[in-house]
């Protein structure tokens, strides 16, 4: 997955988010090594201090750890921890704005439920 920076979020936050996404998707496995600070810096043309700040967010959260002289690795249990966090914020981040918009455009609860049904793949009947 390529990392594409957008204008609204600090770069270090985008680095941290990109790493978290990669761990959740399994692109970087637990106990697997993440790119070095120099790789982040050169590949994405960013200051190494910025890359380090992003990586450190995940270190502080116990999702990454450092092997001296070797680099940064994904902690075991990191994926589950991230999934739990994302699920907890799912209601706040996605369901509440969805309900607000549904009310504004006067969708009934039934119509909304139907739309959610429609969004799921058909093959589980």
């Amino acid at each position: 997955m390529e990392l594409q920076f957008e204008g609204n979020k600090p770069i270090f936050q985008q680095i941290a988010d990109w790493l978290a996404d990669a761990i959740i998707r399994g692109d970087i496995s637990e106990e697997g090594q993440i790119p070095s600070i120099t790789e982040f810096s050169v590949n994405y043309k960013i200051n190494p201090a910025t890359a380090l700040k992003g990586v450190n967010l995940l270190v502080e959260a116990g999702l990454l750890y450092k092997k001296r002289g070797l680099g940064m690795f994904v902690a075991s249990g990191a994926r589950e921890k991230l999934l739990q966090q994302r699920r907890q914020s799912f209601y706040q981040d996605f369901i509440l704005p969805l309900l607000t918009e549904a009310q504004q455009v006067q969708l009934t609860k039934e119509e909304l439920m139907q739309m959610i049904e429609r969004g799921y793949p058909q093959n589980d009947d």
Binding site: F5, E6, G7, N8, K9, P10, I11, F12, Q14, I37, T38, S41, V42, N43, Y44, K45, I46, N47, P48, A49, T50, K53
Partner: protein, 249 residues
Amino acid sequence: MTIELQQVSKRYGSLTALRAATVRFADHKIYGLLGNNGAGKSTMLNLIAGRIFPDAGSIRIDGRPNTEDAALGRLFLMGEKNLFPDEMNIARALRWAERLFPGFDLAYARELAEAFELPVNRKKIKGLSTGYGSIFRIVLTLASRAPHLLFDEPVLGLDAQHRDLFYRLLLAHYAETPCTIILSTHLIAEVSGVIEHAVILRQGQILVDQPREALPAGSREPLASMLAQEGADLQNYFIKLMEEGAKNE
């Protein structure tokens, strides 16, 4: 590793190019020296490198006045002009550089020249386009391996691909060789991710001197407010540079 300016002023006739500038470049950081044409960026860099002299104030490099050779030997300025004879070919100029500058890494210079596809054997200095002239001076500056690297409008005349390559090689160099870097440019958005600290000049005075930390990818506050104020000027300047570049091709 410190470059320190104390109350440095420089006048050209009735024009004050730099007014009582006090600033410090240190700690192996990458600094952006930003501002419009005529803001005083080149004046500041040329003063630091001892190519021109201040009317007032002092400049120290690692604690020594920059009037001493030992102090000046600790920095390398990629200036606006090429300082080698016009008739010399590039390969020869690089060998000269090795003899002139202690610490100059000729093998690394050749590697860099190859990465940029600089025609070292075919071209004389005077035959280089604006872009390749910039590239030649970039190669010299990086290969100096000096602890302080100063770049004055380094990407002038470079196409998008070479600009991209420059930033990558610079960051790879920075990772490998500890150094303090000053990047002087009017292309604020382009360097905003690369720099760690921004010094913004306006009409010879320091307007901003602060870490870029937490500024988003695009040029945001306070760079954005500065761009909004001076955007038109920057654009005109850029158009002028493009025209000059086209003339020199």
